[in-house]
Structures are given as C-alpha cells and as structure tokens.
C-alpha cells in the first residue's frame, strides 16, 4: 500500500518543538518526527506516553535473580549435594555473586530484546527512509496525506509559518 506524507524539514530542535505543538494545536495529526539525535521534550509535545520499559527491566532482573538462586540451590543443595570442607550444601553467601551476575545478565539481554522487538529493529537489506538528512542534520516532521493530497497547500503554509525550511512530499510503500 502506498501512503503519502507531507514532510516539514526543520533546522533546529527548538523550532521543531514549537512547530510540533502548534501543528497539533491546529488539529493536524503528526505521523512521526525523525531527528538525528533525541530531542528532549518531544515526547510531551507529541503526546507519547511515558515508556513502561523500566517496569519490564525490574521483572527481567527478578527473573534472573530467582533463576540463579533456584539453579544454585537445586544443583548443589538437592540434586547432587557435595561435601566441600564440611560446609553447608546451601551456602547462600557464596551464591550471591552468581545471583547478582545473572540478575544483570537477564536485565540487560531482556531489555535489549524487548527494545528491538517493540521498536521493530532487526537486520534488513533495505531501509526506506522519509528523508536521508534526518540522520544527519535535519529534523523531519511527517504528516500523512489522504489520496488526493488536498490538504497539502494548507499544510505547507502551516509548516512554513512554524519555521519549516522546506516542505516536501513523499510516497512510501508499506506492506
């Protein structure tokens, strides 16, 4: 399916932030904003909810901790107790280092997998982008157009009034 977008190109993050606020205030739905670096404050301006990733991180960590403690207690305490210098089979203080390392291991890799999955990041042959300059020095605001692109003139005016240095049109084919 082919979709059309109006692209407002901005030169500065502060101008972009105002533009985002004003464009949304004007009742226009913004498809997405692409920037070469994270623009602080844009989440609020775009109305992006606060990420729940930290909650996931906590549960990954707890999973790692529980797994590590279970593994060590089961292996050395129940499955094959070894007499090591007459010390207790379940020597909890000695299990702490591995428990800590596995907590970190699970948190980190769980977070990485979650991040890649929800953001849709995976190796691919070709990456269609709105504007190649968005990873260099330009801030790109994409607004979805309808079939006839009838809103384009007003949108161009709105974006220009809010500091866009260029307004382009782009067709993107999506599956």
């Amino acid at each position: 399916m082919t979709k059309r977008y109006a692209l407002g190109i901005f030169e500065d993050e502060d101008v972009l932030l105002h533009a985002v606020e004003n464009v949304r205030a004007a009742g226009v739905k913004i498809h997405d904003v692409f920037s070469p670096y994270p623009v602080h404050g844009i989440d609020d301006a775009l109305g992006i909810e606060r990420s729940r990733l930290p909650i996931a991180a906590f549960f990954f960590g707890m999973t790692g901790l529980a797994f590590a403690l279970w593994m060590q207690i089961y292996m050395l305490g129940f499955d094959w107790p070894m007499n090591i210098g007459g010390k207790p089979h379940i020597a909890l203080p000695a299990f702490i280092p591995v428990a800590f390392e596995l907590t970190v291991f699970f948190t980190c890799h769980g977070m990485a997998i979650t991040f890649f999955t929800i953001t849709g990041l995976y190796p691919r042959f070709k990456v269609p982008v709105m504007d190649v300059r968005a990873t260099d020095d330009k801030f790109v605001m994409a607004i979805e157009l309808d079939e006839s692109s009838s809103q384009l003139p007003q949108l161009t005016q709105l974006l220009r009034d809010n500091g866009a240095s260029e307004v382009n049109q782009k067709e993107m084919t999506t599956k």
């Binding site: 932030l17 670096y37 994270p38 390392e101 968005a134 990873t135």
Partner: protein, 486 residues
C-alpha cells in the same frame, strides 16, 4: 543555547555544525584506508601471527610450554588476564557511570572506550581458557551435567564466579555498545554510495530511522543499561580480586582487595584510554572533539584512582604488620626486599609517584607528557599484578619448595600476541565503525561554547549567546520555552 556556560571550557571546539559532525566522523569510514592505518594494521597483524603461533604451541604441547613450575603455578597468564580485564573497566566507567552522573564530556570518548572494553575482555578471556590446557573442554565451566551423572559446577568457587562475571560483563558491554552504534550506523547508511556499504550498514543499522518514539525508548534503555552496568563493572573486578582474596595464601588473603582492585582497574583503564585517544585524535584528526580539556579530565580521574591505589599499597603493608601474622609479614617484606624487589620498585614508582605529577597543570594539559605517563601507568599496573601473583607464590610455607619464575618465549609471545589481537580489533573498529558517537555529540553542540555560540554559524557574530538565535526560517516572534528541555 540557554544552558551555555561562560565559565566552562567548550566540549567541542571549532564551531561545528550538526553537518560538520557527520562529515568529520564519517570521513574516516568512507575514505580509502590511509597509509598510516595500513602500516599500523600490518604491525598488529604480525603480532596477531605471534599470538596464533603461541596458542598453537600451548594447545598442541600443553601448558608445559609456559614457564610455570610447581611452586609458581600462576604467573604471566593470570597477570595478563587481570591486566586486560582491568583495562576494560575504564570503558564501562565512561559509558555507564559518567552517563548516570551526566558528564557530557564523555560523549566524544565513550564509543572508542567501550570498544576498548570489549576488545580488552576478549584478550583477557584468552588466558584462563588457554590455561585450562584443553580449551576444547572450556564449556565444562558452565553448569552442565557431566557425562557420567549429575555432578554440577561448584558455585562456591570464586573461579566459577569469574566465569559468570566475565561472560556477563562481555555480553552486556557488547549489547550496550551495539545499541549505541545503531543510530550512527543509520547515519552512515543514509550517506553510503556503494552497494556493499549501503547493504552492510543497512544490516548493521537494524532499520533505525530516528523516529521520536524510538529515540525515547533508546534513551530509556540506555539509562537502564547504564544503571545495571555500573554495579556490574564494580562486581567484575571485585570477583576477579576474590580469586585471590578468598584463598589463604599470605599476600592474597586480604579484605582490601575488592576496592583496591577496582580502583586499580579504573586507573589502568584510563591510562589505556588516554594512550588510545591521544593516538586516535591525531591519526583521525579529531582534535576538535577530543580536546585538551578531555585529556585533562581523564588525567584527573587517573590521578584520583592512582592515589587510591597508592593508599591501598600502604594500607596492605600496615595491615600485614598489624596482623602480627608471621607469614603475612614475611610475604610483604619479601615483596619489597626479596628477589623480586625490582618488580615491586617498578610498581611503586609507576603507580604511586607518576599519577601525582598530574597535580601540575602543565603536565595535565601536555599531550607528550600525558602520553608518556599513560604508558608508564600501563607498565606499572602490569607489574602490580605480577608482584601480587608471583611474589606471593614463589616463597610458600615450605622453604624447600621455594622457586623463582622466568617466563618462556611462549609466555612472552602470548602477551605481545594479545596486544596484537587487541590492536588488530581496534584498528578494524576505527576504520569501519564511527569512532565517535555522532548522535550524542550532536546533542551537546548547542550547549557548548567556542568563542561564542558554535551551533549556528549565523550566530557566530554575537559575542554572547543570544536567547533567541536567528534560525533560518523561524518567525521572529516564535516564543522560546526555557524550561522545557535540558
């Protein structure tokens, strides 16, 4: 613009624009390899050859190829292991701890420092694996049931903790580093002309587009990873030190080891970061990004951690006397005055005296002096591990089994070989990966001054930062929100 400080030194000099940053960093990736890089790679590859030869000898004939004997059964191998792991710690300190402390100057050095961490851990891992004698059975360290029954790994052993610590450290550093690389790979991908380059960087960039939501999650994930990496980096060298501290060998059995090893690790790591950065900034012409201010700041960290190490040396000596344990006292007296006095003297000179020179401002800001100091510290920290390991072992409780250690040619080959491995990996990284985190440097451009505002060339005319810069296309009446962003 609203956070420009008139007092602080600029983090990036040369009045760079966003596009300049992209150009400067991508240049090295896109240009044909220069002759100096080729020459350096040839030398590194030669030593990599030495490494492979030494590995072949060690694996084929066994660890009898090394200079170990019945008394000194741990020597260069573990010295090199601890040395390399320690070097890695500075990278994580820069990428994680300084991120949590919001030290913006880390932006231009964190990428290369993290790469250094990963390569140093690879080099470190070679030694314990080769010391197993039968490295093809290395998987036995993991808690797998052996073939005869249900005997598991011994979780009470610090050596097993080390396995978990090092493998966690390596994989976590790798993931953290790679997530940071993704936006920069996307930048290179969008500039790439050739088919192969376009294809490779498309694959590497994981389809990154820089959308607002992706950036928001990226920042959250970076903070979480930094949050878990900070205690991780402290735990790794703590556990390495427990390889020694939990034993009852005089000279090793000390409670001061964990903090002392962590400080030493960061100390030697920063020395290696300085060595690498001083070369990288000249070879790749990155003087505007890795400024004298960066060098001075790293020198200060080196001085602080070096002083902690110095205090630890003296404390150790005092506690040996204070403990009234004859064997403990002998271990330390023997260290300083015994047959290995020269190693001890080298350690004391390089690690205690050298970092104190950094108090002098001229030393801190001098490139040649810093370079020499960083090399001396690297040597000193190698000797520290040698002193701890060999002098504690070579004279044990039974004088009839006292012995000296001398390295075999294979020992030496393995050590210089890992240097070859390290530099091969680092040079390949420096050529094909962006050596500076472009996205992160771009975030600080607006908040740093270089003889007036740097970010927008149109603003260069103003001597003081204007609250509302004349930005192309912006309406003059556009209000500025001063509280919105950091």
């Amino acid at each position: 613009m609203q956070h420009v400080s008139a007092v602080r030194e600029p983090l990036v000099t040369g009045g760079k624009t966003l596009h300049d940053v992209t150009q400067d960093i991508c240049y090295q990736v896109e240009a044909k390899p220069n002759i100096r890089w080729m020459a350096a790679l040839s030398v590194a590859l030669f030593f990599l050859g030495v490494f492979f030869y030494s590995v072949y000898r060690t694996v084929w004939f066994g660890i009898g190829e090394w200079g170990l004997n019945k008394t000194v059964n741990w020597a260069w191998d573990i010295t090199n292991f601890v040395w390399w792991v320690g070097i890695g710690h500075a990278g994580t300190l820069i990428s994680a701890v300084l991120l949590l402390f919001r030290q913006k100057w880390r932006s231009s050095i964190n990428r290369a420092a993290e790469a250094m961490t990963i390569f140093a851990v690879i080099c470190a891992a070679m030694f314990p694996v080769l010391h197993m004698g039968r490295p093809w059975l290395a998987f036995w360290v993991f808690p797998l049931q052996n073939t005869y029954g249900s005997l598991w790994a011994n979780f009470n052993s610090p050596l097993l903790w080390d396995v978990f610590a090092i493998s966690t450290y390596f994989t976590v550093s790798l993931v953290f580093w790679y997530i940071g690389l993704i936006p920069d790979f996307a930048t290179i991908r969008d500039r790439a002309k050739g088919t192969i380059a376009k294809f490779s960087y498309s694959m590497l960039s994981f389809g990154w587009k820089g959308s607002a939501k992706a950036w928001s999650r990226y920042e959250t994930v970076s903070l979480i990873l930094a949050g878990v990496s900070t205690p991780l980096v402290l735990s790794v060298h703590t556990i390495v030190s427990m390889d020694f501290a939990t034993s009852i060998v005089p000279g090793w059995h000390t409670t001061i080891f964990p903090p002392y090893f962590v400080a030493g690790a960061i100390f030697s790591g920063f020395a290696m970061v300085l060595t690498l950065m001083l070369i990288t900034r000249v070879v790749f012409r990155l003087e505007d990004y890795i400024t004298l201010e960066h060098i001075a700041l790293m020198n200060k960290i080196m001085m602080v951690t070096g002083s902690i190490v110095g205090v630890a040396y003296i404390t150790e000596f005092f506690i040996a006397w204070y403990s009234q344990v004859e064997f403990e006292q002998y271990a330390f007296i023997n260290r300083a005055t015994g047959p290995y006095w020269w190693a001890y003297a080298a350690m004391m000179t390089c690690n205690v005296i050298t970092p104190q020179l950094v108090w002098i401002r001229r030393v801190r800001y001098s490139i040649p002096l810093t370079f020499v100091l960083s090399i001396i510290v690297n040597i000193g920290m190698w000797f520290e591990r040698f002193v701890i390991i060999v002098t504690s072992l070579h004279r044990d409780y039974l004088p009839s089994s006292w012995a000296m250690f001398s390295p075999s040619i294979i020992d030496i080959g393995l050590y210089v070989g890992t240097l070859g491995l390290f530099f091969t990996l680092f040079l390949l990284f420096a050529k094909f990966f962006p050596v500076i985190n472009m996205a992160e440097v771009k975030t600080i451009l607006k908040y740093t001054v270089d003889n007036g505002p740097t970010y927008n060339p149109k603003r260069a005319a103003h001597a003081t930062p204007a609250p509302q810069p004349a930005i192309h296309g912006a309406p003059a009446s556009a209000p500025v929100n001063y509280n919105k962003h950091d």
